[in-house]
């Protein structure tokens, strides 16, 4: 084997792996806090990427309208839940979050829609749109059934994935899209050439991991999220709203998904359904991490990315097969090592 080729493949693998790491971490976070296995994570990737690509052409993506529509439904649900004690403050808060926020995002999108809008504005807008969708998705689909079993939550999750993917086809069409690169700079070290894009991937991944670590380790809200993951009843008994924890978890996951998408879309053409496969690879990493361990998930994601790069070089027809087969020995080992656990009731 040629060392240069190996280095290239490794570089490619780590770049992809970094993205999978971000997605895997988001999956672990959401599962720990809400017990939801977030299948629609891939749609956050697609929505972030394609909203960014559409904004770059000067048009307003349909996702901005989707956020608005979901906000309306969320408001209706909030008002229905609060029907027994309709206090003005509560109604005002629900109105601000569910109507004013998406309306403001929609207005901003129309205000800035122009082919000449700076890249930073387009990125911010697509992040805002997807974050709002993630927030409302939790409110509409998961908050009402938050107390049910993992299986019910998983089924709802698959349903959300299918619905969002279908809507993606409506918004973005069957044609793939590409977005403008974040930076055209490049750096050459020895035989390796690092594009600005791949450096942005590394930087953002590391930045996000450090930010998450600081958030969970040192802020009260981060600790509250961890507490919800460790003991739901205990968290409620100290006054932490599990719905708030769930919303924050989904907000973070959708942000991470959208950022991953924006990082990928200048490198590869994305279709409305590409996100699912990308999300699934993050999911493999999360499973290898047992859906609980953040560091193990990050390492596993780098391995998944590298295996993918090498197998696409040596046996490109079997690329996906090889990557997804990775999960089998891990599952066998884990099931042998861990005692059977009854699902926790709460």
């Amino acid at each position: 084997m040629n060392t240069t080729i190996m280095l290239f493949l490794l570089q490619d693998g780590i770049t992809n792996g970094a993205i999978y790491a971000l997605l895997g971490l988001a999956l672990v976070l959401v599962f720990a806090v809400t017990r939801v296995i977030l299948i629609p994570q891939g749609e956050f990737v697609t929505y972030g990427a394609l909203s960014y690509a559409v904004l770059a052409t000067g048009k307003v993506p349909g996702t901005a309208w989707l956020a608005m529509a979901m906000g309306l439904v969320a408001l209706a649900l909030d008002l229905f839940d609060a029907r027994r004690s309709l206090r003005l403050k509560r109604v005002a808060r629900a109105f601000a979050l569910n109507i004013v926020l998406p309306a403001a995002i929609l207005a901003l999108a129309y205000g800035f829609a122009s082919p000449k809008a700076p890249i930073a504005v387009n990125i911010a807008l697509s992040l805002l749109i997807v974050a709002a969708i993630g927030l409302f998705l939790y409110r509409i689909a998961f908050q009402p059934i938050a107390h049910t079993s993992v299986l019910v939550l998983l089924i709802a999750s698959v349903g959300c994935h299918l619905a969002l993917q279908g809507l993606g086809l409506v918004f973005f069409g069957a044609e793939g899209l590409r977005g403008p690169a974040l930076s055209n700079a490049a750096l050459t070290i020895g035989p390796l050439r690092f594009t600005g894009q791949s450096l942005a991937v590394y930087g953002l991944t590391i930045g996000f991991i450090i930010a998450l670590w600081l958030f969970f380790g040192f802020t009260l809200m981060g600790k509250a999220l961890r507490a919800t993951a460790v003991n739901r009843l205990g968290a409620r008994l100290v006054g932490i709203r599990t719905t708030l924890s769930g919303q924050i978890a989904f907000l973070l996951a959708s942000l991470i998904g959208a950022i991953s998408g924006i990082l990928i879309v200048p490198i590869t053409t994305l279709y409305y359904d590409t996100g699912f496969l990308i999300g699934l690879k993050g999911f493999i990493a999360a499973i290898i991490g047992g859906l609980v361990s953040y560091p193990l998930t990050a390492v596993a994601a780098l391995i998944v990315g590298s295996v993918e790069a090498f197998s696409s070089f040596y046996a490109s027809n079997f690329k996906e097969v090889i990557v997804f087969t990775l999960i089998l020995p891990v599952l066998v080992l884990r099931s042998l090592a861990a005692p059977a656990v009854e699902e926790e009731k709460d």
Binding site: R84, S85, K223, A224, A227, G234, R236, L237, V238, I240
Partner: protein, 243 residues
């Protein structure tokens, strides 16, 4: 004195089984009230229902406000706090983080004072503040559970079987602390199977049997009641538990 907590005609059911039937109780400011009774009498169910963990049919008011529309988190914010039977600590987080989260609903400045108070009350927790809650001994976990509840500066602390599974010497410690809470302006509603210890520190007591209150009165009267002595204190008179 006005009632801090008042519950009237409360019913709690698990499906078709009524675990608590037509129970009324009240706790005044600065009062320690205990509910004693055998295993399965419905004491824990009643506390959980007052906290909002289980649905309660009947009227509950806390500090003058109707609690029916409030969920658990709002009741915590109002100053009602439950230390549950299973403690429900955050096992993989350290003692300090557990306590910090106990003050989730109160301002940061007040929380700093709460830390001091709790560490004075339970010096052991200060020694172990960097240790994971799940690795503490049973007694320390109970102290942490009470400490976490006190961090939120509650008006009424509801304790569910704080002596469960603990060595007698630690039980004595915990009960002494409960007595000290009154001086700190916290009312206590205490559910106990260790009737003797509970009656010693309480002002008033209710006796619960098969989901109903069969007796109530001052702790002294209850302790000297023939029936209670036979059913709940009989063992311990001979056992001389040392409390």
């Amino acid at each position: 004195m006005s009632a801090l907590l008042s519950v009237s005609d409360a019913h709690v059911s698990y499906g078709k089984v009524e675990a608590v039937r037509s129970v009324s109780l009240d706790v005044a400011d600065n009062e320690i009230v205990t509910i004693i009774g055998a295993n399965g009498a419905g004491k824990t169910t009643l506390l959980n229902a007052i906290m909002g963990v289980l649905p309660l049919k009947g009227a509950t008011a806390f500090a003058g406000t109707d609690m029916a529309p409030l969920d658990i988190e709002d009741r915590v914010a109002a100053g009602l706090c439950l230390v549950p039977e299973h403690r429900e600590l955050f096992g993989t987080m350290n003692v300090e983080d557990n306590l910090e989260l106990g003050a989730f609903r109160i301002p940061k400045a007040t929380a700093a004072r709460s830390f001091e108070k709790v560490y004075t009350l339970f010096p052991r927790l200060k020694e172990r503040r960097k240790q994971l809650a799940g690795t503490l001994s049973g007694g320390e976990q109970q102290m942490l559970a009470m400490g976490r509840a006190l961090m939120g500066a509650p008006k009424l602390l509801m304790l569910d079987e704080p002596s469960l599974g603990l060595a007698p010497i630690i039980v004595a410690d915990i009960f002494r602390t409960i007595g000290e809470l009154r001086a700190a302006g916290v009312s206590v509603l205490l559910v106990e199977q260790n009737a003797q210890a509970a009656l010693q520190i309480a002002d008033r007591a209710y006796v619960m049997e098969l989901g109903e209150f069969i007796l109530s009165g001052s702790a002294k009267d209850i302790a000297s009641n023939q029936r209670v002595a036979a059913s709940y204190l009989g063992f311990q008179h001979e056992g001389a538990s040392g409390i």
